[in-house]
Amino acid sequence: MSISGLYVGKVKELPILFSELKNLGYKVIGYKVIDNVLRLDSIDSFEELAFDVEDIQSPGRYILSQGGFPRHGPDSPKKFLYPSKLVLFEILSDWNVVVPPSPDSKIALFGIKPCDLSAIKVLDKVLLNVDEYYTALRKNLVVVVENCIEPGGTCFCSTMGTGPRARDSFDIAYTRLCDKLAIEAGSSFGLKLLNLLEVEPIDDATYREFEATMNRSAEKARALFTIDNIPETLELNIESQIYKDITEKCLGCANCNMVCPTCFCFDVIDIPKIDGSAERIRVWDGCLSYTYAQVAGGHFRRDLWARYRHFVLHKFVYWIKQFGTYGCVGCGRCITWCPTGIDLRESIVKIIRGGKK
C-alpha cells in the first residue's frame, strides 16, 4: 500500500536513490546487460543499470534491442533470496555439524518489475520463517520497483492481478513518464528515500497521464482468459488429454522451472570431501525433469505430459490449496525461455476449451 500517495519528480533524480542505498551499505541488485541478455546482478554504479534497452520476448525467443523499456531476463529475485545452489551444512568426519552463518548482507532490488515483486510475495508464503537463508535476507530487503509501462510479448500480469502497477509490499514504486517520474513510498524507509528527492504532490495532468499509461499497459498484459474460473476448470479437467498434445514438443528440460520466479522445489546432494567430511547442498530441482518423481523402485510421473500437467496444476490449483495464492505471477519467463516455445497462456486456453478449437 502506498503510504505517501503519488508524487511527481524527475527521472534524472533516480541516481540519488541509488546512491543513498549504496551509502547505507546495501548491496544493490538490478538488471544489467550481460552477453546480450538482461541479467539480475550486483550493480556498482547507476550507469550500469539497463535503462534504454528493450528485451523483445515471444514464445521461445529473446533478443535485446537499443532504446525502449527493459523488463526482465531469465533471472528473478529468487536467484538471490533462494540461490540455485546453497551449502546447507557440512558434516565433519566426527559427525559435528557446521552450519554456514546466515547471510548478513542487506539487499536492495532496484528497478525490478511488479511481477517480480509479486513473486517475492508468493515466495514469502512458502519460505518466510521456514527457510533461514531466505528469511534473513527478506527481513532486510529493500524493493524499489519500477511500474511496467511496456509489457512484453509473453507477459500476462494483468490477468494474474500481479501488475503492471505495484500496489503494495514495496519501499519505493516509480513510473517513468518520459522525463517525469510518478513516485510513491510504501514504507517508512521508502518515505525517507522519497524525502531526498525534489518532488511535489502529483498534479491532475500528470496523474491522468500516469493513469492512461498504466491502463494502456494493463491492456497489453492480458491473456485470453480471465483467472477467476481457471482453478476450478483445470481441476475438473484433470484428466484432459490435451496435456498430451501440448507436450508433444516438450523436451523435459525444466527451463520453465529454472526461470520461474516462484518455483521452490529442491534436491539435496552430498559432496564427500577427502578429509572425511561431507557437504549437504541444496540445489534447485524442477517437476519437468525426469528424475523429479522417480524413486528407486519406480516412477510416479514417467510421462512428460504428466510432469507438465503437474507444473500447470501446481501453479494454478494446488498452490492455492497449499499457500493461499496462485503460484504464477504472469511474468511469461516460462514461455520465453522454453526452447520449443510452449505457451502457458495457450495451454490453459486449450485445456479450458477441452480441445474444441
Partner: protein, 276 residues
Amino acid sequence: MSSLPASLIPMKTVIVDIKNETQNVRTYYIKLPDGVEIPKPGQFDMIYIHGVGEVPISVSDIDCEARVVAHTVRFVGSVTKAFSILEKDSLIGFRGPYGIGWPIDLAIGKNLILIAGGIGLPPLRPVIREVARNRAMYKKLFILYGAKTPDDLIYRYEYRDYESIPDTELYITVDNPNNDWKGRVGVVTDLISLINIDPSETLVFICGPEIMMKFAVKELLKRGFKGNKIFLSLERRMKCGVGLCGHCQMGPYFVCRHGPVFPLWFISRYFWVDQI
C-alpha cells in the same frame, strides 16, 4: 543451530542391532537421539548415511523404554544400498519423526484389516504390536500380506506370534511360488475375499505398491467399505520430510507432511488419476 524446519540438520545416533530379513532387506534398530519424540506407528524418519545421502524410512518397531526404533530397509537405490555396509555400532544421522501415522485410536472397539504388499509390511508392524499389547481394546484383527516370492517374505520368524494373538487371522500369499512353497499363490487383493466381516465396524489400513493399493481399494469399495474407513500409506520421493522440497506432492498434498497415511476420502479426487 537453526531451528527453522528447512534446516534439515540430522542428529547423530547409533545402530544398536541389525537383523537380516531377506537377501536384500535388513532391519536396523537405532537409538533415538535425546530430545526426539517417540515415533508413532505409520510415521517415518529421515535416515542419513554420511557422505551418501538421506532416505525416508518408515518405523517398523518401537521400543519406548529403550528408546530404540526399527527401520526395515530394502536395498534398491543408491542410499539404501549403502545401508548394506553399515554394521552394529555404525553411526547414522537421524531426523524425525515425520508425518501423520495410522489412526489407531479410531480402530478402538472395531475390527481391523491390515493389507500389506512387499516392503509395505514394516509400517504396519507397529500396529500389529499395538493390537497384541492391548488386545481387549480391539475386535478382530486380519493381516493380509503378499510378496513376490517366498524368499521375499519378511519377519518370517514372527508369523507364529501374529497367529497366536487372540481373534487374529493371518493370510499370506506370493505371486511366484517356488517348489517348497505350500501356501497360497496369487496377489494380496485376492485375500480380501477370505474375510467376512461387517464393513461398518471395520477399519482397513493398507500399505504397498500404488497399483496394489488401487486394486485393494476397488475390491474393498465393492464389498461396501467406505472411504472414511480405508487408510492408505503413500510412497513418494522425499528429500526434506517437512513439505518443502516439493517432490512428494500427490495433487495438492505433500505426502510427507499431510500424510503419509491418508483416509481414502481425503485423496479420492486425485488417487485414481494416472500419474498425478
